[in-house]
């Protein structure tokens, strides 16, 4: 084991996983000494009937708790302020967030605002401004991908001013994360595919990028194994509760890994494709992951090669010669994407060119790629990528992933 010169590791959330995790909520609220939570969620979650399941798990006297179910996918400071007002008006004492990344991030913002004596959330932006325990906060992820229940970061946008504020503090993490198989059971196939690949990307980038450490490594390896064993299985049989729970656990393990090890260029470019063209995050991750592996292979062939073991098991790993293991990982990811593409009847794209917008037209045009590369230069994840990335490098990868061509190894400049 390589012991890094320096590392930090933290996972402050208590993690409860099970098919009946929700039934623990009443007892957990009691342990936390609270009785009047506000439930934060979005219309999608309500529509899928998940809020009803959560409410049913509460004690009868709590069934009329305050619910805010209108968190939009591009939540911002105005939403946070509105919820904080609701929280105060109803004299709430804790927060339960049921949803994906946007809901959980919004809940983190709300928690900072209602717990600290601040009128403007943006006064708390930056690193380490929040120094005290916030209100009790339980998170229930409804997608198996973002891992935001495991991170110390909240991103809150100001859509009017078009700025994105980042808040970092150990206290932003939820006190408790509940992973219950029922929460992801009804996830549509394309979303399951994209969020599963999102989690796989978190785990893999955490394993080969610059901030890797002995504890994030073992979380990442376990996550990769669980995803490779369960993702395709669930796609074939969406009602497999065991598989769903394993995937939710994998997503959380991957979240813990990347919250402590950070991510690299798959996220650098992925965030940019999201910001410039509006491509969903998980889809970006799925398309770009093989490119991230290829681009960094010359610097991290050993680490990437080791990822083959949790993907294929001992026997096949041993049969594959050392120097071919990394390449095999890349081809397996491409094969996974192809299988997901077939199962979702093309909804899980293999290249950016094929992604269609709501109007049915091609979402990304070739001329957008220059902007994507330019914006990507200013994404923080660029620092943790093992190999340097300048504008030309980013454009090269964006172009290849647009067309769906593997990277030309000769064009990768080696530092």
């Amino acid at each position: 084991m390589n012991f890094p010169v320096y590392y930090e590791f933290f996972c402050g959330a208590r993690i409860i996983a099970g098919h009946d995790g929700l039934e623990r909520i009443p007892l957990l609220l009691e342990e936390l000494g609270v009785a009047n939570p506000i439930i934060l969620t979005d219309k999608g979650v309500v529509g899928a009937g998940l809020l009803a399941i959560v409410l049913a798990s509460l004690r009868s006297e709590m069934r009329d708790v305050t619910v805010f179910d209108d968190i939009p996918p591009d939540s911002d400071i105005l939403v946070v302020n509105r919820i904080a007002r609701e929280y105060k008006k109803n004299a709430c004492d804790s927060i339960i967030a049921v949803g994906g990344g946007s809901v959980i991030d919004t809940a983190k913002g709300v928690n900072a605002l209602v717990s600290e004596d601040e009128s403007d959330l943006f006064n708390l932006k930056g690193a380490g401004r929040i120094k005290r325990q916030l209100k009790p906060f339980i998170a229930m992820p409804t997608t198996s991908g973002t891992g935001s229940e495991a991170t110390l970061v909240a991103v809150v946008k100001d859509n009017e001013k078009k700025v994105k504020c980042i808040f970092t503090s150990v206290f932003l993490q939820p006190n408790i994360a509940i992973l219950d198989s029922r929460m992801t059971l009804t996830l549509p196939p394309a979303v399951t595919a994209a969020t599963g690949m999102d989690a796989l990307t978190h785990a893999m980038e955490a394993y080969y990028c610059l901030q890797k450490n002995p504890i994030s490594d073992s979380h990442a390896l376990l996550a990769v194994e669980l995803i490779s064993q369960n993702l395709l299985k669930i796609m074939e049989n969406p009602h497999d509760k065991e598989g769903r729970l394993n995937l939710a656990i994998a997503s959380n393990l991957a979240g813990i890994a990347f919250a402590n090890s950070m991510v690299g260029m798959v996220h650098t470019l992925g965030h940019s494709f999201g910001a410039v063209c509006g491509v969903p995050h998980g889809v970006c991750m799925a398309v770009l992951l093989p490119y991230g592996l290829e681009y960094n292979m010359h610097k991290k062939s050993k680490e990437i090669g080791q990822l083959l073991l949790p993907l294929v098991g001992v026997e096949e790993y041993q049969k594959t010669p050392f120097r071919l293991r990394g390449e095999r990982v890349v081809s397996i990811i491409r094969e996974m994407n192809s299988s997901l593409n077939k199962i979702t009847e093309g909804k899980h794209p293999l290249r950016f060119k094929d992604i269609l917008g709501r109007d049915g037209r091609q979402l990304i045009r070739e001329e957008d790629l220059a902007t994507v590369a330019k914006v990507a230069r200013n994404d923080g994840s660029i620092f943790m990528n093992p190999e340097e990335l300048n504008y030309e490098d980013l454009l090269m990868v964006a172009t290849a992933s647009f067309a769906g061509n593997p990277l030309d190894v000769k064009q990768i400049k080696k530092g």
Binding site: M262, E388, K413
Partner: protein, 179 residues
């Protein structure tokens, strides 16, 4: 055992040598960035893409030393001195402690490695921080011999040697002269 025997209070231990060296390096880097913006097109371009009135600091927690570089109203890049208090700073890049700053400025840790080891706290827009760090890296290539700069960078750029040497001389002369 009495309390007085078991208990002692200590003031925190200061590190004057490290502080002096870090302050000197910060001062020189600040002047070199100002010079670099006049000499190197890539640095000038980075600054021109940053918003009007932008300034950034590189400073050591809790109270310096630190240097501030910014754009004036005409867009000219200026070293704004070492005073962290009496000016508005758009982006603050704060090094967690003097020893970490010492490691960074004696090139025992490169920029990326320093970031990977959580030595820096960024207060401000991450995109601006990316630009500021790119500027620092270009300046390092000019200021340092290749063997040293390679330690600080993930990939040493493949520049025309003549340009690099002329740029290096120009930046050194301007940084020393403060123009």
């Amino acid at each position: 055992m009495s309390n007085s025997f078991a208990f002692r209070g200590y003031p925190s231990g200061k590190k004057p040598f490290k502080k002096l060296l870090v302050a000197a390096m910060l001062w020189f880097f600040g002047r070199a960035i100002q010079a670099g913006a006049r000499v190197d097109k890539a640095i000038a371009k980075e600054f021109s893409d940053l918003p009007e009135g932008f300034s950034f600091s590189l400073e050591v927690i809790p109270d310096g030393p630190g240097m501030v570089v910014g754009k004036d109203k005409k867009g000219k890049v200026k070293f704004l001195g070492m005073n962290l208090h009496n000016q508005e700073i758009t982006l603050r890049m704060r090094i967690k402690n003097m020893s970490a700053a010492f490691l960074l400025f004696t090139l025992q840790e490169g920029n990326a490695i320093s970031a990977a080891r959580n030595r820096l706290i960024i207060d401000g827009d991450i995109g601006h921080a990316c630009a500021a760090i790119r500027v620092l890296e270009i300046v390092e290539v000019y200021l340092l011999p290749k063997v040293l700069a390679r330690l600080a960078l993930k990939r040493y750029p493949n520049w025309n040697i003549a340009n690099k040497i002329w740029g290096r001389i120009a930046i050194y002369v301007r940084a020393v002269a403060g123009v």
